[in-house]
Symmetry: C2
Subunit: 142 residues, 2 copies
C-alpha cells in the first residue's frame, strides 16, 4: 500500500467513467450513500448535480458535511476519499453547462447534449465538494 | 432505468471483484465512507471484517447504522444500495475462515490463505449487514 501524490489523486479522480460514492446524513442521523456522476471543476473540486428533493439533496441542504469515495474495484486496488463540506449552488445560471460536461464524461461527446438536458432540471442543485481531508492510497493489496 | 429482481441483486453483489463502499457515522455526526472487501454469507447478508480501532470499526461499535453501496461504474450503470444495521461479532472463532473466503474473492484461490491470514488480526471484527432497505437499479442511463 502506498500513498498517492497530489497529481496521482487528480488523475485517479478523472479516470474513465469511475463514479463517486457520496455519503450524507439523514434527518435521523443515519448514514446515506449513493453513487454519483461528477467531474472536477477548474479548481479540481469534485462537482456534481442533484435534485433538491432527492435524499442527498435534502440531506445536504440540512447538513452540508459530505464524504466522497472513488475506487477502481480491481487488484491491486486503489482509492481516493475526500471528507469535506458541500458548497450548494441553487439556480445556477450554468447548470446546463455542468450537466452537459458531466454527461460527456460518462456517456461520451455524442450523447452529452441529450443527457445534459435530461439532468438539468428545475430545482437541480450544483454541488462542489470543498475538501477538508483527502486520502489517496494505491496498490492496497501489494 | 429498471428495478433489479431479488435474484439480480444477489448476482450483482457477488460479481467479480466489485468492492463495497460503506458509510458510517463519525463521533461528531459527520459521514464517513470507505471501500471494503466483502462476500455474502449463507443468508446473503453482506459480510466483511474491520479492525476494531479503525474509523469504521469504532463508528459501528458506537452506532451500528450502516449504508452500503456497490456499483459497476460503466454504462449503462447499475447499483445496489443496502441500508441496515451492522451485526458486530467480536472474537469470532471463524474469523480466519471469513478473511480467507473474502480474500479468495478479491485475490484468487492461490493467494487466499496468505491474504486471509494477513487480515485476521487480533481485534478484527466480523460484521454482517442486516438489511432494512435494499435498492437495486439497473441500466440507469438507458
Amino acid at each position: 500500500m502506498e500513498k498517492m501524490s497530489q497529481e496521482e489523486i487528480i488523475e485517479f479522480l478523472v479516470e474513465g467513467t469511475f463514479t463517486g460514492k457520496v455519503s450524507t446524513i439523514n434527518k435521523d442521523g443515519s448514514p446515506h450513500i449513493t453513487p454519483i456522476w461528477y467531474i472536477l471543476d477548474e479548481d479540481n473540486y469534485v462537482t456534481f448535480t442533484t435534485y433538491s428533493k432527492s435524499v442527498k439533496g435534502k440531506n445536504l441542504l440540512r447538513d452540508s458535511r459530505i464524504s466522497f469515495c472513488v475506487d477502481d474495484q480491481v487488484p491491486p486496488f486503489s482509492f481516493v476519499i475526500i471528507d469535506g463540506i458541500a458548497e450548494i449552488i441553487s439556480e445556477s445560471d450554468n447548470l446546463l453547462v455542468w450537466t452537459t460536461k458531466i454527461a460527456e464524461r460518462y456517456m461520451g461527446k455524442e450523447l452529452s447534449n441529450e443527457y445534459g438536458k435530461r439532468n438539468a432540471f428545475d430545482g437541480e442543485l450544483l454541488i462542489k465538494v470543498i475538501p477538508k481531508k483527502v486520502i489517496g492510497q494505491k496498490d492496497i493489496s501489494v
